[in-house]
C-alpha cells in the first residue's frame, strides 16, 4: 500500500480548474518530486494533502487513512516547509523552532533535544539568539526548514524551499533533504527548478494546468520523449551539400544552421558526436567549439507540453 494515495482529485477556484482529476501514489522512503511551472497546481496539491483546502472531488489517503481537517494523528507525522518563510519576527531562531516543534511535541525535555538537533542539522549554530530580521535570505530559508522538520516527521513536504536562495545555501538545503531521506523520512519536494528535482528526486511527476502529464524516474521520463542527444557545433562553415549530408545522418531528426552555428537533435539513446566529428575530419571542416547534451527534464516538459518549463 502506498504512503499517499491521491485519487481523481479535482479542485476549482471559481472558473479555474486548479487540479483536474489528479492521481498520484507516493511510496514510503522516496523523494517524490512535483515539477511544474508556476500555477501548475503544485501548491494546491500540497494544501489539499494537508487538508488546508477543501477539494471538489476525489480522495486523499495518507498512511492508509482518509485525510480530513481534524486528522490530527496524521498531521502529527507530517512536517511542512512552506514556500514563503513562515516564522515569527518577534521570536528568536531558537524560540521559533521551539514554538513550531511545541505544536507537535509537548514534552519540554524531548523538545529541547529535537530543537538542538534541528539547529545542528540546518547549520544554524551561533544564530540561536538572533531574530529573523537579522538573518540573510539563505539562513532564513534554513530556519524555515528547521521549523518544519524539528519534530522528526515521517513525511516531510517541502514546497519550493530554495526560491530566492544563493547557490551555497541551496546546495546545503538539498544535501539536508537527502540526509533526512536517508534517515527514513519520505519527502515530497515541489519545485520549478528542474535541475534540483533531477538531482535529488527518485520519482517525478510533471504537472501542468492541474494535470499529471508524466510520472516516473528521471530516466523513464527521458525515455518517453523523442529527443535524445543534442549536439552543438559553433563556428563551422558548411556548404549546402555538406549540410544536406549532415541532415541525412542516421537518427538526426532536427537540424538548425544559423550564423555558422549548427545544432543537431538525435532520436533515441547513445552518443552521435563521434560520427559527426568523423565526417568533419573527412571534409576538412574546422570549428570553434563542439559539445553534446543529453536530454533534460526541460526537454521532456517541452516535448510534452510544447512550452518551456519556465514560460
Amino acid at each position: 500500500m502506498s504512503m499517499i494515495e491521491i485519487r481523481n482529485l479535482v479542485k476549482r477556484y471559481k472558473d479555474t480548474v486548479a487540479l483536474d482529476h489528479l492521481n498520484l501514489d507516493i511510496e514510503e522512503g522516496e523523494i517524490f518530486g512535483l515539477l511544474g511551472p508556476n500555477g501548475s497546481g503544485k501548491t494546491t496539491v500540497i494544501n489539499c494533502l494537508l487538508a488546508l483546502l477543501k477539494f471538489d472531488k476525489g480522495s486523499i489517503k495518507i498512511f492508509g487513512q482518509e485525510m480530513e481537517p481534524d486528522s490530527y494523528e496524521i498531521k502529527r507525522q507530517i512536517g511542512i516547509v512552506m514556500q514563503n518563510v513562515a516564522v515569527f519576527h518577534e521570536l528568536t531562531v531558537y524560540e521559533n523552532i521551539d514554538y513550531f516543534c511545541g505544536l507537535y511535541v509537548p514534552d519540554k525535555r524531548e523538545r529541547k533535544k529535537l530543537v538542538e538537533e534541528a539547529i545542528a542539522f540546518t547549520g544554524l549554530e551561533g544564530y540561536e539568539k538572533k531574530r529573523p530580521k537579522k538573518l540573510s535570505g539563505g539562513l532564513l530559508r534554513r530556519l524555515n526548514i528547521a521549523c518544519g522538520i524539528a519534530h522528526k516527521p515521517r513525511l516531510i513536504i517541502l514546497d519550493e524551499p530554495t526560491v530566492a536562495v544563493d547557490p551555497q545555501s541551496r546546495n546545503k538545503i538539498l544535501e539536508g533533504i537527502c540526509q533526512m531521506n536517508r534517515q527514513g523520512s519520505t519527502i515530497i519536494y515541489t519545485s520549478h527548478y528542474m535541475e534540483e528535482v533531477e538531482q535529488i528526486c527518485s520519482r517525478i511527476a510533471i504537472l501542468d494546468k492541474g494535470r499529471c502529464l508524466a510520472l516516473g524516474t528521471k530516466e523513464e521520463l527521458k525515455n518517453m520523449i523523442k529527443t535524445g542527444e543534442k549536439v552543438h557545433v559553433e563556428g563551422i562553415h558548411l556548404t549546402p551539400e555538406q549540410l544536406e549530408v549532415i541532415c541525412h545522418m542516421p537518427q538526426v531528426f532536427s537540424t538548425v544552421y544559423e550564423d555558422a552555428d549548427l545544432t543537431l537533435r538525435f532520436q533515441g539513446t547513445g552518443s552521435h558526436l563521434l560520427g559527426l566529428l568523423h565526417y568533419m575530419e573527412e571534409e576538412n571542416l574546422t570549428c570553434g567549439r563542439c559539445f553534446s547534451e543529453l536530454p533534460t527534464l526541460n526537454d521532456v516538459f517541452l516535448e510534452i507540453t510544447g512550452k518551456e518549463l519556465r514560460d
Binding site: L52, Y72, K75, H89, E90, G102
Partner: protein, 382 residues
Amino acid sequence: MKVYKGYLIALKRNVSTVILYCTIFFGVAVSMVYLSNRGENTGAYSQERLAIGIVDRDNSLWSQALEKYLEQYHDVTVMEDDMDELAEAVYGRRIRYAVIIPENFYEECIQGERKVESVTESGSQWEYYVNSRVDNFINSARVYLAGGYTQEEAAENVLDTADIQAQVELESSREDLGIYNVFRFMPYLYFSILCFVLGLIQKEYQNIDIRRRLEASSMTLKNKNIQSLLAFLTVGIFSWILCEGIGIATCFSEFWSSPNKWLILLNGFTIMLGALAAAFFVGSMARTEAAVNGMANVLSLGFCFLGGIFVPLELLTGVVRRIGQFFPTYWYAQNISILSFNETLTDSLKTTLIQGMGIQILFALACVAVALTVGKARRQEE
C-alpha cells in the same frame, strides 16, 4: 501551552513600548494633579448676561411678563417680526438668541404644551442657557396657577421669584479633582498600548503562511483558539493592573478615600475589554506594521476625541455627542464623571453606570465579531 507562551514571549519583546507609553502618561498625570492641587481653579461662577431679542406676537399679560422676566437676566431688545432679520442678527452676533412669543401664548404654551419658538445657534451653550430660563418661567407660572392664584397674581409672583438668588460655592470643580483628571484619560493608554503591541503580535498570526503552518500542525483548532484567548486576557489583565496602578499611584489618598474606587476599577476593566477587542480587530485587519501603527493611532485618538476623553462631554456639540455614543470611550467618560463627582450613587446613577459598562462590553463583542467575520471572508478569498 505553546501558542499562549508565544504571545507572551512576543509581548516581552515589546515591553519597551509599553514602558514608554506608561512613563509619558505617568509624567503628564503627575503634573496635572500637581497643577490642580495648587487650587488656582477653585470654582467661582458668575452669571453671564446675553444679548437676546424678543418678538412679541401676543402682546398679552403673560408675554409682557416673560419679557420682564428675561430682562432680569439678559440684555433684551424688542425686535421686528421678521425671520430674516432675526437670523441675520444671530448670525452677525448682535444677539445670541431670539425668543418668538406666539399668539395665544397663555393658552398654547402655559396651559398647552407648545414650545416657545427661538432663533439661535443650534447646540450652543446659550441655547441651553436661555431655553432653561424660558422653561423656568413657564414652569413657575404653571405652579402658581395650579396653586389657585389668578393670572395677574401668578405673573407677579413669577417675576418676584426671579429676584431670589442663591449663593453657590463649589467645594471642588472638575479641574481640581485628581481622580477625574487622571482616570479620565485612561482609555487612551489602554487603546494605545493594546492596539500597538497586541495588534503587532496578532498581525503575525494572521500571516497566511504562519496560519497554514499552525493549521497543518497536530494541535487542535479548539486548543489553539483557547490558548490565544487566554493570552489576550492575560495581556489585558496585565495592562489593566499596570494602567490602574499608575492611576492609583498618581492620586493615592484621593483614590482610596473615594467611596466609588472599586467601581472606578471595574469601569477601567470594561474599557480594557473594549481596547482588547480593538487590538484584536487591528491585528486581524492590518497586513503590515505600518498599517498597525496607522490603525492604532486612528482608533486611539479618534475614540478619545469623539468619546469625550480629551474634551469633556459637556463641551461636545450635539452631533459629536451622538457619534460619540457609538464608542466605548463615551460611556467610560460618562461613568468616570459620575463616579468622580457623586459620593452617593442613586438608583438612577447606578443604572446609568451599569448601562455604560454593558455598552462597553457589547462594543468589545461586536468588535471581535466583525474581526472574525471579515477574517473569515478574507481567508475564503485566499
